[in-house]
């Protein structure tokens, strides 16, 4: 017997549908649909998280660059070291740290930036 006619015949026949079987099938379906719903929820949460995170990173980078170039107050800056050596010669470079706090809160974005002394 071929597969499609066999499946069709199987579905049309009412012999196999005992109450217990239907109940168990219904329970299994409910469980997997709940799992699928949880998976979809996780996917939407992840999408929103990724969008927020990317937007925060872009904003933080812009705030840091604005602060570094035009001393705006988008980021707070501290000098980590102004005596960094280059090729064994001390005091050639300085290392500054810029900290940006995202608008909606969340993790700080910290950037380390070198500059010639």
């Amino acid at each position: 017997m071929k597969l499609i006619p066999k499946t069709k015949a199987l579905l049309l026949a009412n012999k196999a549908e005992s109450m217990a079987e239907v109940l168990v099938a219904f329970m299994v379906l409910t469980i997997i649909l709940e799992l699928f719903a949880q998976g979809m929820k996780f996917a939407f949460t992840a999408e929103n998280y990724a969008i927020d995170r990317t937007r925060d990173s872009d904003k933080a980078m812009k705030a840091m660059l604005d602060t570094a170039i035009s001393n705006s107050d988008g980021a707070s800056s501290t000098t980590l070291s102004d005596n960094e050596p280059l090729d064994g010669q001390p005091g050639m470079l300085k290392l500054k740290l810029y900290t940006v706090i995202p608008d909606g809160g969340g993790d700080y974005c910290v950037y380390a930036v070198f500059d010639a002394n």
Binding site: L29, L35, A50, S57, L80, D87, L93, D115
Partner: protein, 149 residues
């Protein structure tokens, strides 16, 4: 019903399908496997998506570290405060002076977890290459600039 061995799963499944017994359960099981598979794929895809979003900050941090150190050294070379002509062979210039390529030294940035940077000069036949490498977590950025010998 034909008597058969209890441990033979394939035979039992075939018999169930052949006798129309438990057909809906078998169909639901197949459906369950398909849905579970799609949930696993969905989970993997979203995890990758989140990891990629998390990596952006590290990539930006690595880029800033390498590019700022590279442009600062370039500025010092232009101003003549760092004599590039004195470099005749491979030399690491930051964070320490080192001429042995096998002894690579890194500057760890204490305020950024897993962040480190180094700069070296590679000497080729007709060019010298300033190479600055910054690593932050899994992100890496390499800044290079060529100078004619």
């Amino acid at each position: 019903m034909k008597r058969m061995r209890r441990d033979n799963l394939i035979e039992r499944t075939a018999a169930i399908l052949g006798n129309n017994e438990g057909a809906s359960l078998v169909l639901v099981s197949i459906l369950a496997i398909l849905v579970l598979l799609s949930v696993v794929i969905l989970r993997l895809a979203t995890t990758t998506f989140m990891a990629s979003a998390n990596r952006q900050l590290s990539q930006d941090q690595a880029y800033e570290l390498a590019a700022s150190l590279g442009t600062s050294i370039d500025e010092l070379i232009d101003e003549g405060r760092f004599d590039l002509d004195s470099v005749k062979e491979y030399r690491q210039i930051y964070p320490e002076k080192e001429t042995d390529p096998s002894k690579v030294k890194w500057k760890n940035i204490s305020n950024i977890p897993n962040a480190k940077v180094k700069a070296c000069i590679l000497v080729k036949t007709d060019v010298k290459i300033l190479e600055v490498t910054a690593i932050v977590g899994k992100a890496q950025y390499v800044y290079t600039k060529e100078y004619a010998s």
